[in-house]
Amino acid sequence: MIRESAIRIPFRYAAGGAGSRFLAALRDERRILGARCDGCRRVFAPLRSFCSSCGASPLEEIALGPGGRVEAWTARADGTVFALVRLDGADTALLHRLVGLPGEPRRGMRVRARFAAERRASILDIAGFEPEEGASA
């Protein structure tokens, strides 16, 4: 005997101090912000309020990329390609999607953020990362 049911529940998540600043910078300045820790010298992407490694807070805000390298990637059955992109200047990678690929991506390839025309303070204000000029896929 099986019983099935379905409901729809609304949620509303606060991006918080660092998250709001990061998303507003994508929307208003087309900049990708990260955070540098003075304690352990690591640079995190995206911007955050405290250091994941040593716990220090607050951290210094810095702009990253917009170029970077693909560290890992995978393709979904529908063709969407997801990648971990290490932005220039960052020690950690950002999860996003790759767009405008001429063929299969490869690890280490250079990519650059393409910003969406309409931006609304969302991670999708970056439409995706596309191969950099001259980068071979």
Binding site: R3, S5, I7, I9, P10, F11, R12, Y13, A14, A15, G16, G17, A18, G19, R48, S49, F50, S52, S53, C54, G55, S57
Partner: protein, 384 residues
């Protein structure tokens, strides 16, 4: 069991919606204050316990998203979720980890951001074959039990309203509390919006965003870190059968809380709690529950709880002040609420209670209450 003490506490400002902070930032706010209070560094923490009801925020693995905010990256970290008792259960888990000799310092952090999800819907996700069709959240199932309790004990709506007034008046002396209503009257409680007969809006706890943390330390570390450590004299917990209909006259009997308290009092050598406790921070999600807990916790005989509130025995200046913090009725971020009870009880022993400090506290009780299915009781004292 090795000696264990609470040496530091920290909590956030609690509010209806903490839009300024993400879940992780809220946790960091409480955790950083607890470390500062205990005068320790992140590297001093051996392990971390997180308390949260993730169902309410609809976010999987909260311990993953907020763990690093609680200085847990690279350390042992687990989450505890037992409804309203999540926080006290988390504290008991941390206490056990230190008492066993496994760790010297454990940070326990509880948090909830009710503003981000749908708590009452989460509460209705009970047994799909039995009572989900009728489940009516915390308000509905408390109201049922209150009807039995009132009929058996002759408790009046005015007596319950006095509890609601005491809580919000006490909260006005607590800078972190959510509902601070120094001038609230019994008449205003009785005139507030009906939720489920006989419960009204001001009989119920609010839904709050907030976090709270405690630093649990082994005996040798505790003596170095705090001039007046809050020693854990006893910690007990009880579970129940699964369905509300399994429990015989729930508020009137409260076998979970009665049994947990009996074990905790025995462990702490307490014979007459009203005389021997100096302060209590109890988990009262509803005004009527506080009255029922007075009896279950042995503060008075059955049927005498109304007299206790009427005679001011549990007011700030009374024989046994109950919830100087304003309690759950004033502040309820569920995963944090149990940690707040323990932190506030510890604070009273540390002598760091500010305007809500009760004079000369040597022994304090903290309790947790999770739906009808769990109850926790923890006795803290100024001596091991």
């Amino acid at each position: 069991m090795n000696p264990v003490a609470i040496v530091g506490t920290g909590q956030t400002r609690h509010a209806r919606a903490r839009d300024d902070a993400s879940q992780a930032e809220l946790v960091r706010e409480a955790a950083a204050r607890a470390l500062e209070d205990a005068a320790i560094e992140p590297r001093d923490i051996d392990a971390v316990v997180i308390a949260n009801m993730e169902l309410f925020e609809g976010r999987a693995w909260p311990e993953l998203w907020v763990g690093e905010a609680a200085f847990a990256a690279g350390k042992p970290c687990v989450k505890v979720a037992t409804g309203g008792t999540s926080g006290t259960s988390g504290c008991i888990a941390g206490i056990h980890q230190v008492a066993s000799g496994l760790f010297d310092i454990v940070l326990v952090v509880g948090f909830e951001k009710h503003s981000e999800g749908h708590t009452q819907t989460g509460m209705t996700l009970t047994d799909p074959y039995w009572d989900r069709a009728v489940a009516s959240g915390a308000v509905g199932n408390f109201a049922l039990s209150v009807s039995q309790y009132m009929a058996e004990r002759g408790t009046t709506e005015r007596q319950a309203a006095q509890v609601a007034v005491k809580a919000r008046r006490n909260a006005a002396r607590n800078p972190y509390a959510h509902l601070q209503m120094p001038a609230l009257t019994v008449e205003e409680v009785l005139a507030s919006k009906p939720l489920a007969h006989p419960l009204r809006m001001l009989d119920m706890c609010p839904q709050s965003d907030g976090a709270c943390a405690i630093v649990v330390a082994s005996g040798t570390r505790a003596r170095k870190l705090n001039p007046r450590p809050a020693w854990v004299r006893a910690a007990a917990t009880r579970h129940e059968q699964p369905f509300i209909g399994d429990i015989e006259r729930r508020l009137a009997t409260m076998r979970t809380l009665r049994e947990a308290a009996r074990e905790a009092y025995a462990g702490a050598g307490i014979g007459n709690p009203l005389k021997e406790l100096d302060v209590a921070e109890i988990y009262e999600p509803v005004s009527y529950a506080e009255l029922a807990w007075y009896e279950a916790l042995g503060f008075c005989e059955e049927g005498q709880a109304g007299r206790l509130i009427e005679e001011g025995v549990t007011e700030m200046g009374g024989e046994l002040p109950v919830n100087p913090s304003g309690g759950v009725l004033s502040t309820n971020p569920v995963g944090a609420s149990g940690v707040i009870r323990v932190a506030e009880a510890a604070l009273q022993i540390h002598g760091r209670g500010g305007e809500r400090q009760v004079d000369g506290v040597r022994t304090a009780l903290a309790t947790g209450y999770g739906v009808y299915a769990w109850a926790d009781a923890i006795v803290l004292a100024d001596r091991p």
